[in-house]
Protein backbone atom coordinates (compact mmCIF):
# COMPACT_ATOMS: atom_id res chain seq x y z
CA UNK A 1 0.00 0.00 0.00
CA UNK A 2 2.13 2.89 -1.26
CA UNK A 3 1.10 6.53 -1.34
CA UNK A 4 -2.66 6.93 -1.22
CA UNK A 5 -3.78 3.54 -2.47
CA UNK A 6 -6.30 2.43 0.16
CA UNK A 7 -7.58 -0.70 -1.61
CA UNK A 8 -7.54 -4.04 0.17
CA UNK A 9 -8.83 -7.18 -1.51
CA UNK A 10 -9.35 -9.55 1.44
CA UNK A 11 -11.85 -8.99 4.23
CA UNK A 12 -9.24 -10.22 6.75
CA UNK A 13 -7.09 -7.25 5.79
CA UNK A 14 -10.04 -4.87 5.82
CA UNK A 15 -10.61 -5.45 9.53
CA UNK A 16 -7.06 -6.33 10.60
CA UNK A 17 -6.45 -4.98 14.09
CA UNK A 18 -10.04 -5.08 15.23
CA UNK A 19 -9.90 -6.85 18.59
CA UNK A 20 -12.02 -7.60 21.65
CA UNK A 21 -13.62 -4.76 23.62
CA UNK A 22 -13.16 -2.16 20.90
CA UNK A 23 -15.73 0.48 19.95
CA UNK A 24 -17.09 -0.06 16.46
CA UNK A 25 -19.37 2.25 14.48
CA UNK A 26 -21.47 0.77 11.69
CA UNK A 27 -23.23 2.90 9.10
CA UNK A 28 -26.77 2.42 7.86
CA UNK A 29 -30.37 3.30 8.63
CA UNK A 30 -32.30 0.11 9.23
CA UNK A 31 -30.88 -2.23 6.59
CA UNK A 32 -30.33 0.61 4.09
CA UNK A 33 -26.66 1.41 3.47
CA UNK A 34 -25.07 -1.14 5.80
CA UNK A 35 -21.59 -2.66 5.27
CA UNK A 36 -22.86 -6.21 4.84
CA UNK A 37 -19.58 -7.93 4.11
CA UNK A 38 -17.69 -6.16 6.89
CA UNK A 39 -20.33 -7.28 9.39
CA UNK A 40 -19.95 -10.86 8.12
CA UNK A 41 -16.21 -10.58 8.54
CA UNK A 42 -16.65 -9.29 12.07
CA UNK A 43 -18.77 -12.35 12.83
CA UNK A 44 -16.09 -14.56 11.31
CA UNK A 45 -13.33 -12.92 13.36
CA UNK A 46 -15.37 -13.30 16.53
CA UNK A 47 -14.10 -10.19 18.34
CA UNK A 48 -16.10 -9.99 21.58
CA UNK A 49 -17.18 -7.42 24.16
CA UNK A 50 -17.74 -4.81 21.46
CA UNK A 51 -19.35 -1.43 22.00
CA UNK A 52 -21.37 -0.96 18.88
CA UNK A 53 -22.64 2.44 17.68
CA UNK A 54 -25.26 2.35 14.97
CA UNK A 55 -28.65 3.97 14.48
CA UNK A 56 -30.33 0.57 14.61
CA UNK A 57 -29.37 -2.96 15.59
CA UNK A 58 -30.36 -4.71 12.36
CA UNK A 59 -33.12 -7.28 12.29
CA UNK A 60 -33.09 -10.86 13.54
CA UNK A 61 -30.15 -12.66 11.95
CA UNK A 62 -29.32 -9.89 9.45
CA UNK A 63 -27.21 -6.76 9.60
CA UNK A 64 -25.97 -6.14 13.14
CA UNK A 65 -28.48 -8.79 14.21
CA UNK A 66 -25.78 -11.30 13.26
CA UNK A 67 -23.48 -9.92 15.93
CA UNK A 68 -26.24 -10.35 18.48
CA UNK A 69 -26.64 -14.01 17.51
CA UNK A 70 -22.97 -14.54 18.27
CA UNK A 71 -23.13 -12.42 21.44
CA UNK A 72 -20.22 -10.23 20.33
CA UNK A 73 -21.87 -6.97 21.41
CA UNK A 74 -21.64 -5.89 25.03
CA UNK A 75 -22.99 -2.36 24.67
CA UNK A 76 -25.25 -0.99 21.96
CA UNK A 77 -25.62 2.76 21.35
CA UNK A 78 -28.57 3.36 19.01
CA UNK A 79 -31.70 5.46 18.53
CA UNK A 80 -34.17 2.71 17.60
CA UNK A 81 -33.88 -1.03 18.12
CA UNK A 82 -37.36 -2.40 17.36
CA UNK A 83 -38.17 -5.53 15.38
CA UNK A 84 -35.42 -7.73 16.77
CA UNK A 85 -36.24 -10.64 19.09
CA UNK A 86 -32.64 -11.62 19.82
CA UNK A 87 -32.04 -8.05 20.88
CA UNK A 88 -35.07 -8.12 23.15
CA UNK A 89 -33.97 -11.33 24.89
CA UNK A 90 -30.40 -10.18 25.49
CA UNK A 91 -31.60 -6.76 26.65
CA UNK A 92 -34.18 -8.15 29.09
CA UNK A 93 -31.73 -10.72 30.49
CA UNK A 94 -29.23 -7.93 31.16
CA UNK A 95 -26.68 -9.52 28.84
CA UNK A 96 -26.72 -6.48 26.59
CA UNK A 97 -26.29 -2.88 27.76
CA UNK A 98 -28.30 -0.43 25.67
CA UNK A 99 -27.79 3.34 25.52
CA UNK A 100 -30.74 4.81 23.66
CA UNK A 101 -29.86 8.16 22.12
CA UNK A 102 -32.14 10.46 20.12
CA UNK A 103 -31.36 10.12 16.42
CA UNK A 104 -30.31 13.73 15.85
CA UNK A 105 -28.21 13.76 19.00
CA UNK A 106 -26.56 10.50 17.93
CA UNK A 107 -25.77 11.95 14.50
CA UNK A 108 -24.38 15.14 16.03
CA UNK A 109 -22.33 13.28 18.69
CA UNK A 110 -20.66 11.27 15.93
CA UNK A 111 -20.16 14.31 13.73
CA UNK A 112 -18.65 16.15 16.71
CA UNK A 113 -16.34 13.22 17.44
CA UNK A 114 -14.83 13.39 13.99
CA UNK A 115 -14.72 17.18 14.02
CA UNK A 116 -12.72 17.70 17.22
CA UNK A 117 -15.70 19.08 19.17
CA UNK A 118 -15.83 17.27 22.54
CA UNK A 119 -19.28 18.52 23.60
CA UNK A 120 -22.20 20.67 22.49
CA UNK A 121 -25.57 21.90 23.70
CA UNK A 122 -28.73 20.58 22.07
CA UNK A 123 -32.42 21.17 22.83
CA UNK A 124 -33.21 17.51 22.24
CA UNK A 125 -34.26 15.51 25.26
CA UNK A 126 -34.48 18.39 27.71
CA UNK A 127 -36.88 17.45 30.49
CA UNK A 128 -36.83 13.75 29.55
CA UNK A 129 -34.98 10.64 30.76
CA UNK A 130 -32.29 11.34 28.17
CA UNK A 131 -31.19 14.46 30.03
CA UNK A 132 -30.95 12.81 33.46
CA UNK A 133 -27.60 13.55 35.08
CA UNK A 134 -26.56 15.87 32.28
CA UNK A 135 -25.75 19.56 32.50
CA UNK A 136 -28.45 21.88 31.19
CA UNK A 137 -28.31 25.56 30.34
CA UNK A 138 -30.59 28.28 29.06
CA UNK A 139 -29.84 30.19 25.86
CA UNK A 140 -32.30 32.83 24.63
CA UNK A 141 -35.01 31.56 26.93
CA UNK A 142 -34.83 27.93 25.83
CA UNK A 143 -33.28 25.02 27.70
CA UNK A 144 -30.48 22.87 26.28
CA UNK A 145 -28.65 19.70 27.32
CA UNK A 146 -24.87 19.24 27.13
CA UNK A 147 -23.97 16.15 25.12
CA UNK A 148 -20.50 14.68 24.60
CA UNK A 149 -19.07 13.43 21.33
CA UNK A 150 -18.47 9.84 20.20
CA UNK A 151 -15.52 8.31 18.38
CA UNK A 152 -14.65 4.72 17.49
CA UNK A 153 -11.64 2.44 17.13
CA UNK A 154 -13.10 1.21 13.85
CA UNK A 155 -15.79 2.68 11.62
CA UNK A 156 -17.39 0.25 9.18
CA UNK A 157 -19.16 2.14 6.46
CA UNK A 158 -20.91 1.46 3.18
CA UNK A 159 -20.51 3.69 0.12
CA UNK A 160 -21.62 3.48 -3.49
CA UNK A 161 -18.34 4.30 -5.24
CA UNK A 162 -14.80 4.89 -4.10
CA UNK A 163 -11.69 5.87 -5.94
CA UNK A 164 -8.47 4.14 -4.94
CA UNK A 165 -7.54 7.14 -2.76
CA UNK A 166 -10.61 6.60 -0.61
CA UNK A 167 -12.78 9.44 -1.90
CA UNK A 168 -16.38 8.26 -1.52
CA UNK A 169 -19.83 8.94 -2.85
CA UNK A 170 -23.10 7.54 -1.53
CA UNK A 171 -26.35 6.79 -3.34
CA UNK A 172 -29.78 8.10 -2.26
CA UNK A 173 -30.73 7.40 1.38
CA UNK A 174 -27.84 4.99 1.93
CA UNK A 175 -25.82 8.05 2.94
CA UNK A 176 -27.44 8.42 6.41
CA UNK A 177 -24.82 7.91 9.18
CA UNK A 178 -21.99 6.78 6.90
CA UNK A 179 -20.25 10.14 6.28
CA UNK A 180 -20.05 11.13 9.95
CA UNK A 181 -18.87 7.68 10.99
CA UNK A 182 -16.18 7.84 8.31
CA UNK A 183 -14.90 10.94 10.10
CA UNK A 184 -15.19 9.57 13.63
CA UNK A 185 -13.27 6.31 13.21
CA UNK A 186 -9.64 6.00 14.20
CA UNK A 187 -9.55 3.43 11.42
CA UNK A 188 -12.26 3.77 8.81
CA UNK A 189 -13.04 0.93 6.43
CA UNK A 190 -15.36 1.50 3.49
CA UNK A 191 -17.13 -1.34 1.70
CA UNK A 192 -18.26 -0.16 -1.72
CA UNK A 193 -20.09 -1.32 -4.82
CA UNK A 194 -17.55 -0.02 -7.30
CA UNK A 195 -13.95 1.19 -7.26
CA UNK A 196 -12.75 3.72 -9.82
CA UNK A 197 -9.47 5.47 -10.58
CA UNK A 198 -8.56 8.81 -8.98
CA UNK A 199 -9.98 11.64 -11.05
CA UNK A 200 -13.10 9.73 -12.09
CA UNK A 201 -15.14 11.19 -9.23
CA UNK A 202 -15.91 14.88 -9.72
CA UNK A 203 -14.00 16.84 -6.99
CA UNK A 204 -17.05 19.12 -6.57
CA UNK A 205 -19.25 16.19 -5.64
CA UNK A 206 -17.29 13.95 -3.30
CA UNK A 207 -19.26 13.18 -0.16
CA UNK A 208 -16.40 11.84 1.96
CA UNK A 209 -12.86 13.01 1.11
CA UNK A 210 -10.23 10.26 1.20
CA UNK A 211 -8.46 11.78 4.20
CA UNK A 212 -11.01 10.05 6.44
CA UNK A 213 -10.76 6.63 4.84
CA UNK A 214 -8.02 4.12 5.66
CA UNK A 215 -9.12 1.03 3.74
CA UNK A 216 -11.48 0.38 0.85
CA UNK A 217 -12.85 -3.02 -0.15
CA UNK A 218 -15.21 -3.95 -2.94
CA UNK A 219 -18.22 -5.90 -1.69
CA UNK A 220 -21.37 -7.51 -2.98
CA UNK A 221 -24.61 -6.56 -1.32
CA UNK A 222 -27.87 -8.37 -0.73
CA UNK A 223 -29.66 -5.07 0.11
CA UNK A 224 -32.53 -6.69 1.96
CA UNK A 225 -35.68 -4.55 2.16
CA UNK A 226 -37.34 -4.13 5.57
CA UNK A 227 -40.69 -2.66 4.56
CA UNK A 228 -41.65 -3.26 0.96
CA UNK A 229 -44.35 -0.68 0.29
CA UNK A 230 -45.78 -0.25 -3.17
CA UNK A 231 -47.99 2.29 -4.87
CA UNK A 232 -50.46 -0.42 -5.80
CA UNK A 233 -51.18 -3.24 -3.38
CA UNK A 234 -48.72 -6.05 -3.98
CA UNK A 235 -50.18 -9.47 -4.69
CA UNK A 236 -47.25 -11.49 -3.45
Amino acid sequence: MAGFNKIVTRYEDALAGLTDNMTVMAGGFGLCGIPEGLIDQLVKMGAKGLTCISNNAGVDHFGLGKLLDTRQIKTMIASYVGENETFEQQFLSGELEVILTPQGTLAEKIRAGGAGIPAFFTPTGYGTMVAEGKETRKYNGKMYVLEESLTADFSLIKAYKADTMGNLIYRKTTRNFNPMMAQAGRITVAEVEEIVEPGELDPDFIHTPGIYVDRVIQGTFEKRIEQMTLKQPAHA
Binding site: C32, T128, V130, N176, Q227, L230
Partner: protein
Protein backbone atom coordinates in the same frame (compact mmCIF):
# COMPACT_ATOMS: atom_id res chain seq x y z
CA UNK B 1 -69.08 9.80 15.02
CA UNK B 2 -65.42 9.60 15.90
CA UNK B 3 -63.18 10.11 12.87
CA UNK B 4 -61.42 7.25 11.16
CA UNK B 5 -57.66 7.46 10.83
CA UNK B 6 -58.08 8.58 7.23
CA UNK B 7 -60.50 11.29 8.30
CA UNK B 8 -58.04 12.52 10.94
CA UNK B 9 -55.40 12.67 8.20
CA UNK B 10 -57.86 14.57 6.03
CA UNK B 11 -58.46 17.13 8.79
CA UNK B 12 -54.70 17.37 9.42
CA UNK B 13 -54.12 18.11 5.75
CA UNK B 14 -56.01 21.40 6.18
CA UNK B 15 -53.03 22.60 8.25
CA UNK B 16 -50.71 22.39 5.22
CA UNK B 17 -49.87 25.66 3.50
CA UNK B 18 -48.45 26.32 0.07
CA UNK B 19 -44.65 26.10 0.12
CA UNK B 20 -44.43 24.28 3.45
CA UNK B 21 -41.60 21.86 4.24
CA UNK B 22 -43.24 19.18 6.39
CA UNK B 23 -42.08 16.24 8.48
CA UNK B 24 -44.69 13.52 8.95
CA UNK B 25 -44.30 10.98 11.74
CA UNK B 26 -45.11 7.29 11.48
CA UNK B 27 -48.78 6.19 11.64
CA UNK B 28 -51.69 8.56 11.03
CA UNK B 29 -49.39 11.47 10.06
CA UNK B 30 -48.02 9.43 7.14
CA UNK B 31 -51.54 9.29 5.70
CA UNK B 32 -51.63 13.10 5.40
CA UNK B 33 -49.59 12.79 2.19
CA UNK B 34 -52.69 11.30 0.55
CA UNK B 35 -54.79 14.42 1.17
CA UNK B 36 -52.73 17.39 0.01
CA UNK B 37 -55.30 20.13 -0.76
CA UNK B 38 -55.61 21.10 -4.39
CA UNK B 39 -53.61 24.09 -5.54
CA UNK B 40 -50.89 23.89 -2.92
CA UNK B 41 -47.43 22.37 -3.00
CA UNK B 42 -45.61 20.90 -0.02
CA UNK B 43 -42.29 19.06 0.31
CA UNK B 44 -41.93 16.20 2.76
CA UNK B 45 -38.76 15.78 4.79
CA UNK B 46 -37.77 12.31 5.90
CA UNK B 47 -35.24 12.42 8.71
CA UNK B 48 -33.10 9.59 7.35
CA UNK B 49 -31.83 12.04 4.72
CA UNK B 50 -34.38 13.01 2.10
CA UNK B 51 -36.10 16.30 1.36
CA UNK B 52 -38.81 15.76 -1.23
CA UNK B 53 -40.22 12.34 -0.41
CA UNK B 54 -42.55 11.08 -3.14
CA UNK B 55 -45.19 8.39 -3.20
CA UNK B 56 -44.58 4.65 -2.83
CA UNK B 57 -42.88 3.08 -5.86
CA UNK B 58 -44.39 0.81 -8.46
CA UNK B 59 -43.13 -2.75 -8.08
CA UNK B 60 -40.73 -2.45 -10.99
CA UNK B 61 -39.04 0.69 -9.66
CA UNK B 62 -38.47 -0.37 -6.04
CA UNK B 63 -34.98 0.69 -4.94
CA UNK B 64 -33.55 -0.71 -1.68
CA UNK B 65 -31.28 2.37 -1.52
CA UNK B 66 -34.30 4.65 -1.15
CA UNK B 67 -36.39 4.39 2.00
CA UNK B 68 -38.13 6.77 4.39
CA UNK B 69 -37.73 7.10 8.15
CA UNK B 70 -40.29 4.32 8.62
CA UNK B 71 -37.99 2.08 6.53
CA UNK B 72 -40.61 1.89 3.78
CA UNK B 73 -39.57 1.92 0.14
CA UNK B 74 -40.44 5.33 -1.36
CA UNK B 75 -39.64 7.53 -4.34
CA UNK B 76 -38.14 11.00 -4.59
CA UNK B 77 -40.15 13.97 -5.86
CA UNK B 78 -38.85 16.34 -8.52
CA UNK B 79 -36.47 18.78 -6.87
CA UNK B 80 -35.56 16.39 -4.06
CA UNK B 81 -32.21 16.30 -2.27
CA UNK B 82 -30.42 13.56 -0.33
CA UNK B 83 -28.14 14.28 2.63
CA UNK B 84 -26.60 12.71 5.71
CA UNK B 85 -28.35 12.17 9.04
CA UNK B 86 -26.40 14.99 10.67
CA UNK B 87 -27.43 17.37 7.91
CA UNK B 88 -31.00 16.14 8.26
CA UNK B 89 -31.10 17.05 11.92
CA UNK B 90 -29.40 20.38 11.25
CA UNK B 91 -32.54 21.07 9.24
CA UNK B 92 -34.83 19.85 11.98
CA UNK B 93 -33.03 21.24 15.03
CA UNK B 94 -32.29 24.51 13.24
CA UNK B 95 -36.02 25.16 12.86
CA UNK B 96 -36.06 25.00 9.06
CA UNK B 97 -38.97 22.56 8.82
CA UNK B 98 -42.24 24.52 8.72
CA UNK B 99 -44.53 21.90 10.22
CA UNK B 100 -44.13 18.62 12.09
CA UNK B 101 -47.09 16.29 12.49
CA UNK B 102 -46.57 13.36 14.82
CA UNK B 103 -48.39 10.85 16.94
CA UNK B 104 -48.42 10.53 20.73
CA UNK B 105 -49.55 8.21 23.52
CA UNK B 106 -50.39 11.18 25.76
CA UNK B 107 -50.23 14.96 25.81
CA UNK B 108 -50.77 17.28 28.76
CA UNK B 109 -51.77 20.84 29.40
CA UNK B 110 -48.18 21.88 30.11
CA UNK B 111 -47.50 21.13 26.46
CA UNK B 112 -45.63 17.93 27.27
CA UNK B 113 -45.82 14.90 25.06
CA UNK B 114 -45.19 11.17 25.62
CA UNK B 115 -44.77 8.99 22.59
CA UNK B 116 -41.79 6.69 22.79
CA UNK B 117 -41.85 4.36 25.76
CA UNK B 118 -44.22 2.29 27.83
CA UNK B 119 -42.35 1.03 30.90
CA UNK B 120 -42.60 -2.71 31.39
CA UNK B 121 -42.93 -3.31 27.69
CA UNK B 122 -39.79 -3.42 25.55
CA UNK B 123 -38.36 -0.02 24.77
CA UNK B 124 -37.75 0.32 21.06
CA UNK B 125 -36.12 3.73 21.26
CA UNK B 126 -37.08 7.29 20.47
CA UNK B 127 -35.65 7.45 16.95
CA UNK B 128 -35.90 11.04 15.77
CA UNK B 129 -39.00 11.98 17.74
CA UNK B 130 -37.20 13.78 20.57
CA UNK B 131 -35.26 15.93 18.11
CA UNK B 132 -38.42 16.77 16.19
CA UNK B 133 -40.44 17.87 19.21
CA UNK B 134 -37.56 19.80 20.77
CA UNK B 135 -36.89 21.72 17.60
CA UNK B 136 -40.00 22.42 15.58
CA UNK B 137 -41.66 25.82 15.88
CA UNK B 138 -44.91 24.34 14.72
CA UNK B 139 -45.99 20.91 15.96
CA UNK B 140 -49.35 19.27 15.53
CA UNK B 141 -50.07 16.11 17.45
CA UNK B 142 -52.32 13.54 15.79
CA UNK B 143 -53.75 10.98 18.19
CA UNK B 144 -56.77 9.16 19.56
CA UNK B 145 -58.59 11.23 22.16
CA UNK B 146 -58.98 8.28 24.55
CA UNK B 147 -57.88 4.66 24.76
CA UNK B 148 -60.16 1.71 24.11
CA UNK B 149 -61.45 1.80 27.68
CA UNK B 150 -62.42 5.43 27.23
CA UNK B 151 -59.62 6.81 29.43
CA UNK B 152 -58.48 10.23 28.28
CA UNK B 153 -55.06 10.68 26.67
CA UNK B 154 -55.40 14.49 26.92
CA UNK B 155 -54.15 14.89 30.46
CA UNK B 156 -53.36 17.36 33.19
CA UNK B 157 -49.99 15.63 33.42
CA UNK B 158 -48.46 12.88 31.32
CA UNK B 159 -47.97 9.56 33.11
CA UNK B 160 -45.53 8.00 30.62
CA UNK B 161 -41.88 8.98 30.11
CA UNK B 162 -41.76 12.21 28.13
CA UNK B 163 -40.56 12.75 24.58
CA UNK B 164 -40.45 16.51 25.02
CA UNK B 165 -41.60 19.31 27.29
CA UNK B 166 -43.62 22.43 26.47
CA UNK B 167 -43.69 21.63 22.81
CA UNK B 168 -47.33 20.95 21.97
CA UNK B 169 -49.58 23.71 20.67
CA UNK B 170 -52.22 21.97 18.60
CA UNK B 171 -53.79 18.50 18.90
CA UNK B 172 -56.11 16.89 16.39
CA UNK B 173 -57.88 13.73 17.55
CA UNK B 174 -60.65 11.46 16.36
CA UNK B 175 -63.02 13.69 18.35
CA UNK B 176 -61.76 17.25 18.28
CA UNK B 177 -59.32 19.99 17.37
CA UNK B 178 -57.65 21.43 20.46
CA UNK B 179 -55.32 24.36 20.89
CA UNK B 180 -53.16 24.76 23.98
CA UNK B 181 -53.10 28.29 25.42
CA UNK B 182 -52.24 29.45 28.92
CA UNK B 183 -52.22 25.99 30.44
CA UNK B 184 -55.54 24.78 29.08
CA UNK B 185 -56.80 23.12 25.93
CA UNK B 186 -59.26 25.26 23.97
CA UNK B 187 -61.85 23.30 22.02
CA UNK B 188 -61.80 24.68 18.46
CA UNK B 189 -63.77 22.04 16.56
CA UNK B 190 -65.80 18.89 17.06
CA UNK B 191 -65.74 15.84 14.82
CA UNK B 192 -69.00 15.75 12.85
CA UNK B 193 -71.73 14.42 15.09
CA UNK B 194 -69.63 14.34 18.26
CA UNK B 195 -71.06 16.32 21.17
CA UNK B 196 -69.18 18.81 23.33
CA UNK B 197 -70.24 16.69 26.29
CA UNK B 198 -68.52 13.58 24.94
CA UNK B 199 -65.33 15.52 24.32
CA UNK B 200 -65.47 17.03 27.79
CA UNK B 201 -66.01 13.59 29.31
CA UNK B 202 -63.01 12.15 27.47
CA UNK B 203 -60.68 15.07 28.28
CA UNK B 204 -58.93 14.90 31.64
CA UNK B 205 -57.04 18.15 31.06
CA UNK B 206 -58.58 21.56 31.65
CA UNK B 207 -60.81 22.24 28.65
CA UNK B 208 -61.97 25.71 27.66
CA UNK B 209 -65.17 25.95 25.63
CA UNK B 210 -66.12 29.33 24.19
CA UNK B 211 -69.61 29.62 22.77
CA UNK B 212 -70.79 27.43 19.95
CA UNK B 213 -68.13 24.90 18.87
CA UNK B 214 -68.22 24.34 15.10
CA UNK B 215 -67.96 20.96 13.44
CA UNK B 216 -64.87 20.09 11.40
CA UNK B 217 -65.30 20.39 7.66
CA UNK B 218 -64.00 17.32 5.87
CA UNK B 219 -64.41 18.46 2.31
CA UNK B 220 -62.14 16.14 0.37
CA UNK B 221 -63.56 12.71 -0.36
CA UNK B 222 -61.85 9.75 1.26
CA UNK B 223 -60.06 7.77 -1.46
CA UNK B 224 -60.75 4.07 -1.82
Amino acid sequence: MALTKDQIAQRLSQELKDGYYVNLGIGIPTLVANYIPEGIQVMFQSENGLLGMGEFPAAETVDPDLINAGKQTVTAATGAAYFSSSESFEMIRGGHVDLTILGAFEVDQKGNLASWMIPGKLVKGMGGAMDLVASAQNIIVAMMHANKKGDSKILKECTLPLTGVQCVSKVITDLATLELRDGAFHLLERAPGVSVEEIQEKTEANLVINGEVPEMRLSAPVPA
